[in-house]
Amino acid sequence: MSAHADTHDHDDDHGHHHKETFVTKYIFSQDHKMIAKQYLITGTIMGVIGVLMSMMFRMQIAWPEEPNVLFEALLGKWAPDGVMDADIYLALVTIHGTIMVFFVLTAGLSGTFSNLLIPLQIGARDMASGFLNMVSYWLFFLSSIIMVISLFVEAGPAAAGWTIYPPLSALPMAQGGSGMGMTLWLVSMAIFIASSLLGSLNYIVTVINLRTKGMSMTRLPLTIWAFFVTAVIGVVSFPVLLSAALLLIMDRSFGTSFFLSDIFIQGEVLHYQGGSPVLFEHLFWFLGHPEVYIVILPAMGLVSEIMASNSRKPIFGYRAMIASILAIAFLSTIVWGHHMFISGMNPFLGSVFTFTTLLIAIPSAVKAFNWITTLWKGNLQMNPAMLFSIGFVSTFITGGLTGIILGDSALDINVHDTYFVVAHFHLVMGISALYGMFAGIYHWYPKMFGRMLNKNLGYIHFWITAVCAYGVFFPMHFIGMAGLPRRYYTNSNFPLFDDLANVNVIITIFALIGGVVQIVYLYNFFSSIFFGKKAVQNPWKSTTLEWTAPVEHMHGNWPGDIPHVHRWAYDYSKPGHDVDFVPQNIPLKDGEEELQH
């Protein structure tokens, strides 16, 4: 345990002067702020890979089997004469999903902001265990490296879809990617899960034990509530995926039959008997569904905080927001079956899952309405972070609403695994969570790097991205409703779908623009680290504790005592004060009442 993790008994020895070498400061750092930056930069690099992949397979969908120099350059032997191979198409789709869901939106988002904000916003000198925190990051780094290495395997990377359903993922003779590529995928994910669990345990312990004096649970910023509940969901559900991965490894390498039975492939009967792929689906989705909330809850927390700060208004319905986070977290663990309505599962179970799934719409609706009401009669400061937050609510609503179609088992029969699903989840958790992440980066960049991002580049980044996100995923609903299955290398074998080809071209053009415009963001991000305007201590005039810490990073976060907390996190524009924000560490005035929030 780190010596800086002292808590309520804020000792006065604030002169934490270690001899820091380059290695302890930038590489094997145990400082949560540095670890947050490491997560962010690793996540960004993985994100670039993931987005590039999506741009490549979108080009294949729009212009099927057309030679493309880009393919030839990037895919090498997988694109003979520049024509993308069908196996590598599936691999790109698979790895794109894996990277974006786990490496970018789980580790990149939750890892970055949980690490950065938990100690700073609850008033702690560091995480409960700086060492575990460091180990967590380096395991994540290792798993990223293995995932990237798996792209270069002779027989191709994993290509069974990010859900890696066996038997396809279990049998190398069913698909080239199910050999070494899948082995590395599984190893990488097992390490990733270990990393995620270490991180989550650390977040939970820190939030419970290291809050500064006065920081009761009902004075926590919503970010912390979101990170805390996310960590709990992670601890509950990630181990189940680990067990699924281990059982799959057993089936693949040691001849067990957990998921396999009665298989005849390439002219021979395999020995497997008595297993069931449906069992794997259950285990996978027991994590897989909570996973989408692991992705979206931190984004919701960030957005709530940024919206309040930039609206110069308290977040509307603070307690309802917490209650809905808890409700979503609870429900998220009992809805996984809606991915399996037509898996051969008993239809009665399907009914139960329809019921629980549609219930999730209620806390989600409450959150959406509360965000909208937070804007009402505000004094909105249109910083890039605020734009991304508003964009988040917009895509969350658009994407979330179609959930009532997919969650309804009867309707799912016909749109299951079509582009309708792809459109739905990309909007509601992909784009939304990405917006949440961007919002967080624009907002807390000064805290992370002590410099400001360029706002004009931020505006360009937001508006073009926003238009492209709708341009890509809105029309996609319609080709899904027309019955076009996802994960098809080309649709040219189905003249039935010929009249959808032009829609796919439009989608791809938007996707390419949207992908390329991220260069503006990357440029802004990396150049501002060195050349950005120097940040002031509290650039957005926010109330939370991280802005009471000095701009220059230091071990232990605050020189001198840790600030005490006297009020909730949302005293914006409170009547009776001259300024429009009252930081949490300012004592109540005589006769001032704290809200019974």
Partner: protein, 355 residues
Amino acid sequence: MTALLTIIVLVFILVAIWQMVKIFDLAQAKNENTQVATDKDNTMNAYLMMGFLAFIYIITIVCFVKWGDLPLMSNSASEHGPTIDNLMIISMVIIFITQTITQFLLHYFAYKYKGEKGKKALFFADNNKLEAIWTIIPVIVLAGLIIYGLNTWINIMGVDESDDPLVVELYAQQFNWKARYGGADNTLGKANVRLIDIDRANILGLDESDPNAQDDVITTELHLPVGKPVLFKMRSQDVLHSAYMPHFRAQMNCVPGMITQFGFTPTVTTVAMRETPQMQEKIKRINNIRVENSKPLLAKGEDPLESYEFDYLLLCNKICGKSHYNMQMKIVVETQEEYDAWIKEQKEFKNSLVN
């Protein structure tokens, strides 16, 4: 080539934007620029918010007008199809209304309450009544949807064996489909992939000693008599597949080691479906596209694309490997007489074996 050109154009556009920003930034260099939004930024972005709201509405309208003639919303060909379509339309209407209102509020508020120096926001932290309202409204709407949805689901999935359905096995393998009919006794013989004997042409692993199997008929096209309930029994020999018959609003996974099932009653024959005005229009549209796409082929001296005629299809809709994108089977819905004539021509299992 198109793709490459597009990319190059995109890159140039971006470089242009980039340069403009640089100029803009340099021009502002004298001013104190803390990179925090000013009133000017607030106003500009507030207007853009309204512009974006318009964009959302326009893209919605364009999509519905251009592609909203959803080929799968109005031409269902099974008895339960219309119930799914009705539920779909009701859900879409609810979504459409909610989407229009909430997006309006969100973007309009973002426009209306744009920040101005010296303005103070309203301190409005809580209102139990409001929150109760927007908890209860979704509860009511969803309760309705859940009840309607579950009713529909149970009706579809509950197979009534008493109305003597035609039993057909759908057999999936990488990367094709087979159909197996029970023959005169309408009973499928026992089967397991362990019994597959390629040398004897027992490709589906039927139990050769089972009397029920003798008259089974294995085909590569799926023929169904119109108006007769069909009960599909699905099997897979290698990996997961999904039997997706979009026109019949039917889908079920095929799982190795397990038999899954799905039943429906086809209501429109292939011939009748081809003659509906909607389908005629779709066929014409597709054929125009195909003629257009054939031009470059003809110029190269290759054969043009075949002209399209509508057929019901069974598609694989669960990723199953390299040729997943081409795993399909033609479905023919015909009159009972046509069906009887067709099935009579097919070889029975006992006659199809190679000794």
